[in-house]
């Protein structure tokens, strides 16, 4: 029997949702300050309007839904899934006001793409965009990559017992430190430290490569935020190709890989446990999948004769493979080149890499290499079970910060999420084919959206059908939250309509 949610349930959800919206409104002050500094008059007004609307909405929710109760697991999941929708709608306001997006739907598409760290973009005339608007595009990637909830947990929720339940809803089941608020603050510490180092490195390279210092710093900060949070936005329409720099590409590869590593592993390395890099199941699986998919891509490119020089094969083939595998979506080629020059085999290699994704508890999307590693380990275990005598007791372990015995519950959970992702990839591909796009193109773009990558073969464009835009938005949202929070929201809505009092 399904029970209809009580009024108190709505109040808890509304109260915490309000807090998260207030957090989002506070973040909008950063581009506002930049707009004032650069004397960008109309963009500054865009942010004043957006801040006023966002803060008003957030405060109204905290007033109307004020409660002292802590959220339970169900509340946590619903708060997270709704907060991402609210962030998309409110984060799109300054974008829409800038007139760089043709419609509010397009602005919402880019807003969801930013928060979900995807990187697919419908922005127009990007080369003439204001600094403040451009910063906002990259900042939402940073906020989304860290987790919108992390913002609220770090600064707005004072040691709430239910904080962990909200944290888990954002597809981060692992606590790094015993206290979830400390965990959130550690994630910020890591990110801010890398932000300073990464921005400095990218700005230095950009300056070295001929950019003026002011622009080098701005581009460095934007590219870092989008690379470390495996997002894929860039300040210029050519993406990373704008810089024409091998060194810049190398630095972004390092940042993308850092972004694809589990924050727990970052903590282990920061604590001096460097051996963890070579032992961790995620790192081992990531290395194997990168190598395997690169062989496919390299073989595919070799067959088509697209890049005959080794350096070109590295700068194009390997770069896009890392960009796809880490879920970043940075590009140094034009979208149409994927279809016209790369050939189906190389495209399939990139699609596989995108589908696999990076580490859990990182900023990447996709199935995640931990699950891939567990499934392969379970397969190997089953094969051994067949070969060995029936009486043999087989116990397998995997190393993820500590040695863990491989149990059926681990494999079941990994298989369920993997299956959900495969269905999501397929769903988007079918919708794409429904609109007449070829199978491989549709699968590539769908996987890119659902795994929060952002590489495009040209389907994502202003003139694509509105339903396809909404499909990709749904995929980005569901893929980023890893389904559980989304399923809980759907269940909650069903209970609210059909449940018994």
């Amino acid at each position: 029997m399904i029970l209809r949610p009580q009024k108190e349930d709505f109040k808890i959800i509304g109260y915490y949702l309000g807090k998260i919206i207030v957090g989002l409104g506070i973040m909008m002050f950063i581009p506002l300050i930049l707009g004032i500094a650069y004397r960008e008059i109309n963009p500054t007004l865009d942010f004043i309007i957006s801040i006023a609307i966002t803060l008003s909405a957030g405060f109204l929710l905290t007033i109307f839904c004020h409660t002292e109760r802590d959220p339970n697991w169900m509340h946590g999941m619903i708060i997270v899934s709704l907060s991402w929708i609210a962030a998309m709608l409110l984060g799109a306001i300054p974008m829409y006001l800038s007139h760089h997006w043709n419609s509010y739907l397009d602005a919402c598409f880019d807003s969801m793409s930013g928060f979900a760290t995807t990187g697919l973009a419908l922005a127009q005339n990007m080369d003439h965009m204001a600094y403040s608007h451009n910063l906002w595009r990259h900042l939402i990637m940073f906020i989304g990559g860290q987790g919108i909830v992390i913002v609220a947990l770090s600064f707005l929720v004072r040691g709430a017992a239910g904080a962990f339940r909200i944290y888990v809803g954002e597809a981060r089941e692992e606590k790094i430190l015993p206290n979830v608020v400390s965990t959130a603050r550690f994630i910020w510490l890591v990110s801010i430290t890398y932000l300073i180092l990464g921005t400095g490195a990218l700005a230095a390279v950009a300056f070295w490569e001929g950019m003026p210092l002011k622009n080098a710093i701005f581009h460095g900060a934007c590219i870092f935020m989008a690379a470390f949070d495996t997002g894929g936005f860039a300040p210029q329409s050519q993406n990373i190709l704008y810089y024409h720099s091998f060194l810049f590409e190398i630095v972004t590869i390092v940042i993308m890989l850092l972004g694809a590593i589990n924050f727990k592993l970052h903590y282990a390395i920061w604590s001096g446990n460097r051996r963890e890099i070579w032992r961790n199941i995620e790192m081992v699986t990531l290395f194997i999948t990168i190598m395997a998919t690169f062989i496919i891509v390299a073989f595919g490119l070799q067959r088509t004769g697209t890049y005959t020089e080794a350096i070109a094969l590295f700068r194009k083939g390997f770069y896009h493979l890392i960009s796809g595998h880490t879920g970043t979506g940075y590009m140094t080629i034009y979208a149409k080149q994927f279809i016209r020059e790369w050939g189906p085999l190389a495209l399939m290699g990139i699609t596989l890499a995108m589908a696999f994704g990076g580490s859990s508890c990182s900023t990447t999307g996709g199935i995640k290499v931990l699950r891939i590693g567990l499934i392969f380990k379970a397969m190997a275990q089953d094969i051994r079970r067949i070969i060995l005598p029936e009486s043999a007791v087989i116990i397998d372990k995997f190393h993820h910060i500590k040695d863990i015995v491989l149990e059926d519950k681990h494999v079941r959970s990994a298989c369920l999420i993997t299956l959900s992702y495969i269905i999501l990839y397929g769903f988007g591909a079918i919708v794409g084919m429904f609109y007449g796009y070829p199978f491989l193109d549709s699968l590539f773009e769908s996987t890119s959206a659902a795994a929060n990558v952002g590489l495009s073969c040209g389907i994502t464009a202003v003139d694509m059908p509105a339903l396809l835009k909404m499909t990709y938005m749904f995929q980005m949202w569901a893929g980023r939250l890893e389904f559980v929070a989304v399923f809980t929201l759907i269940g909650f809505l069903v209970a609210a309509i059909k449940g018994k009092k």
């Binding site: 960008e40 008059i41 109309n42 007004l45 865009d46 004043i48 309007i49 801040i51 006023a52 609307i53 803060l55 008003s56 405060f59 109204l60 905290t62 007033i63 004020h66 006001l97 080369d127 003439h128 965009m129 204001a130 600094y131 490569e209 001929g210 950019m211 003026p212 622009n215 210029q236 329409s237 050519q238 190709l241 704008y242 810089y243 024409h244 091998f246 697209t306 890049y307 005959t308 020089e309 350096i311 070109a312 094969l313 590295f314 700068r315 194009k316 140094t332 080629i333 034009y334 149409k336 080149q337 016209r340 020059e341």
Partner: protein
């Protein structure tokens, strides 16, 4: 045989100017008199066609080619001299004796590798509040440039400024000011209400 001569002339007409010059030069070299010798005429025609093929294979067109055309047909244009025009956007990144500029034809931007001294005329570059100079570039198009790690680019030989850039800074939008004031007032009211409710909650019953 007059007719034959005319026929030869007609066939050679579509060939570009340089090829025509080449043909007449050839005619002079061979000392041909096309009136009486059909074989010689065919020979000239064949030589003309050969030159035309050579010229067409290295020079794509004197007309500007769009970025979409270049990207979609990169293999066909690869290694050919092309003319491309668009707005110079972003920064000029000087690398030794050369520089990178990015030129946007309002659909895509393409990287142009250019001798640094040719960039001196580019005074406006497209950015927020600034429309960049509209320039025409002639140069060799590369689908996958060997010198630049496989980038799709154009190595410019010449740059001509067609239109000067200008400021596109817009005055303050009155509508936006109105919305900002209204939404700001709503926020102030909400905050006052929040403070009032908090004080109300703190008053002992």
């Amino acid at each position: 045989m007059n007719a034959t001569y005319c026929h030869c002339e007609e066939l050679s007409l579509p060939v570009i100017a340089r090829a025509q010059n080449a043909r007449s030069n050839l005619r002079d070299c061979f000392g041909l008199c096309p009136r009486n010798d059909r074989i010689r005429c065919i020979c000239v025609l064949a030589m003309t066609a050969f030159w035309a093929v050579i010229m067409i294979s290295t020079t794509a067109s004197a007309q500007p080619i769009s970025s979409t055309d270049l990207i979609n047909n990169a293999k066909e244009y690869n290694g050919k001299t092309v003319t491309y025009e668009g707005e110079a956007i972003g920064d000029i990144m000087v690398r030794g004796a050369h520089a990178w500029i990015n030129v946007n034809d309002e659909v895509n931007a393409i990287g142009i590798w250019v001798p640094a001294d040719l960039t001196k005329e580019i005074l406006h570059r497209g950015a927020y509040g600034e429309k960049g100079d509209w320039i025409e570039i002639s140069g060799v198009f590369h689908r996958s440039c060997v010198e630049h790690g496989g980038d799709l680019d154009i190595h410019a030989v010449s740059i001509i400024k067609l239109k000067d850039g200008y400021s596109t800074a817009k005055p303050m939008s009155v509508t936006k000011v109105r919305y900002a004031v209204i939404s700001g007032l709503i926020l102030v009211l909400v905050l006052l209400w929040k403070v009032y409710r908090r004080r109300l909650a703190n008053i002992p019953q």
